[in-house]
């Protein structure tokens, strides 16, 4: 059983599983968003967690001081995701019956004073957070290590936990993409949401039914492409950034065989049986064509479809193209991951001469 879980936890298998679980969760949110389901899930998961914790290797990973915040966020995110689904299910049932969302009922629209209602709560939260951090600092030591040495790196060398999703992304992308372009798109894209999304539905209340596209997209990016990758980077990546199952001992000499190949090598050497051309643009021509098709042809083509026409009608051309560009940026990550796993594809465009790889 433990062997099987180790085997299934490899991102090659756990990423599709998480995607499927995510789709099921969003599809059956009315079943999941009930109190019965929540109690059932907690009761069912307690013995499983207890059984997991019997394993010394698993305990060593989750009780490592750096990883404890991530245990806490997993619990918090599970709770918050369930809670929002619960509120969505409630509201959607009401909307179907022709009632207003719970947040719009007269008793919930009552106004209160900032002082004392808000400021007092904020003060209490500040005190609570300070106490929490002080206690945390006393319990979990953060000792000074030896002076920084530019010629030595710890193994595994891990970023702070909130960046581990990015570090996991870097396994599949050039540092320019995963370190600069994609994080930039994430930040700019999140800031752009209020300007792109002009639909007033869902403002101030929970709903999935009225905003299916927005909810499905955002929750996928958040839960699967961000939280799941943080969990993988934290718990399942050991020395040499090799994958280790949750019950696996972090053996420094775990042998992994991997040989990554660029698309240009596939094209010229494997498929055309030719030496690589000297001209680097000609060498990477297939990758360049595919990339241009991905970021130019897909938006233009999708604007002609029924789905695209509807969004353009509601929001306008410019908003639509910005939206589709952000969406393609997001989907480039799962596409690249799957290509790496299936074909050991390293880069679609590889121009190391120009420090540019996609």
């Amino acid at each position: 059983m433990k062997e099987f879980i180790n085997y299934m936890a490899d991102p090659i298998r756990s990423f599709p599983i998480m995607t499927i679980l995510y789709i099921l969760m969003m599809k059956y949110y009315r079943i999941i968003g009930t109190k019965k389901f929540a109690i059932g899930a907690v009761v069912a998961s307690l013995p499983v967690v207890a059984w997991f914790c019997m394993d010394a290797n698993f305990r060593a990973i989750i009780l490592w001081p750096d990883n404890i915040p991530i245990n806490i966020i997993i619990i918090l995110i599970a709770w918050l995701t369930w809670y929002s689904l619960y509120r969505c299910a409630q509201n959607d049932a009401r909307i179907e019956k022709g009632e207003c969302p719970i947040e719009a009922t007269p008793e919930n629209r009552e106004k209160v004073w900032t002082w004392p209602n808000l400021v007092y709560t904020e003060l209490m939260c500040m005190i609570g957070a300070t106490v929490f951090l002080v206690v945390w600092a006393i319990i979990f030591k953060a000792p000074l290590e030896e002076p920084a040495n530019p010629t030595w790196a710890p193994n595994p060398a891990k970023a702070p936990w909130y960046f581990l999703g990015l570090q996991e992304m870097l396994v599949y992308f050039d540092p320019w993409m995963a370190g600069v372009v994609l994080p930039g798109i994430i930040v700019v894209g999140l800031m752009a949401i209020p300007y792109i999304d002009t639909n007033p539905k869902g403002n101030g209340y929970f709903t999935i039914k009225e905003r299916p596209l927005a909810m499905w997209m955002f929750m996928y990016g958040w839960l699967v492409l961000w939280i799941y990758l943080i969990i993988v980077g934290t718990f399942l990546r050991g020395p040499n950034w090799t994958f280790y199952g949750p019950f696996e001992y972090w053996d420094f000499h775990k042998v992994v065989s991997e040989y990554n190949v660029n698309l240009s090598e596939f094209l010229w050497i494997k498929w055309l049986n030719m030496p690589m051309p000297g001209n680097i643009v000609l060498r990477e021509i297939l990758g360049i064509i595919l990339t241009v098709a991905y970021i130019v042809v897909i938006p233009l083509w999708s604007a002609k479809t029924k789905w695209g026409k509807k969004i353009i009608e509601n929001t306008g051309q410019i908003r639509y193209y910005i939206f589709i560009f952000l969406l393609l940026g997001m989907t480039s990550l799962p596409i690249k991951m799957v290509l790496r796993w299936l074909f050991s594809l390293k880069y679609i465009i590889a121009l190391p001469e120009w420090e540019l790889n996609l």
């Binding site: 010629t151 570090q167 020395p239 000499h253 992994v256 040989y259 420090e355 790889n357």
Partner: protein, 167 residues
């Protein structure tokens, strides 16, 4: 002129006050900015030297030699009659890979890039091979490694006579 208006500044006094004040303000800001700029440079650097003498060619056995890794960030690799000075900076994001003697490869702890003994990348996200540094013999027959000169495989520079020593 009444007493009231004598207490007030006239135009000429006003401008001289403003000029003095502005000059003082500007020089204070410039002084602070130059201090801040100076502060961004360390007083003492612990950077490794950019060139060093690495003993005699006969000191090295076939394979990877790690004696200069911690001091200078260089692996000396002797293979197929060539001795090269290989950079220990991963070409993906600049971490420091480890030499795994059992697997005969360099493996980066940050994102799992792997390189063969000769520095060619084969696994993980590394886009290009490890860089070689200039290596030459001094008149006494000692090896001199110069890290300011870099030879990159993908640019065809590994054929350059300064990028290796024939041993």
């Amino acid at each position: 002129m009444s007493d009231e208006s004598k207490k007030q500044l006239n135009r000429r006094e006003f401008f001289s006050f403003v000029t003095v004040g502005w000059v003082a303000f500007t020089s204070a800001v410039a002084g602070l900015a130059s201090l801040a700029f100076r502060y961004s440079y360390p007083n003492v650097t612990f950077d490794p030297e950019m060139d060093f003498i690495a003993g005699f060619p006969a000191d090295y056995e076939e394979g990877v030699d790690e004696r200069w890794k911690n001091g200078f960030g260089v692996w000396m690799v002797k293979q197929e009659g060539k001795l090269v000075a290989l950079s220990n900076i991963c070409t993906h994001l600049g971490c420091v890979p480890n030499w795994l003697p059992a697997e005969l490869k360099f493996k980066c702890p940050c994102h799992g890039s792997g390189y063969y003994m000769n520095g060619i990348n084969f696994e993980g996200p590394a886009p290009r091979p490890l860089e070689r540094y200039k290596i030459a013999l001094t008149p006494e027959g000692k090896i001199k490694v110069d890290k300011t000169k870099i030879y990159r495989y993908e640019k065809g520079q590994w054929d350059h006579p300064d990028s290796y020593l024939s041993v």
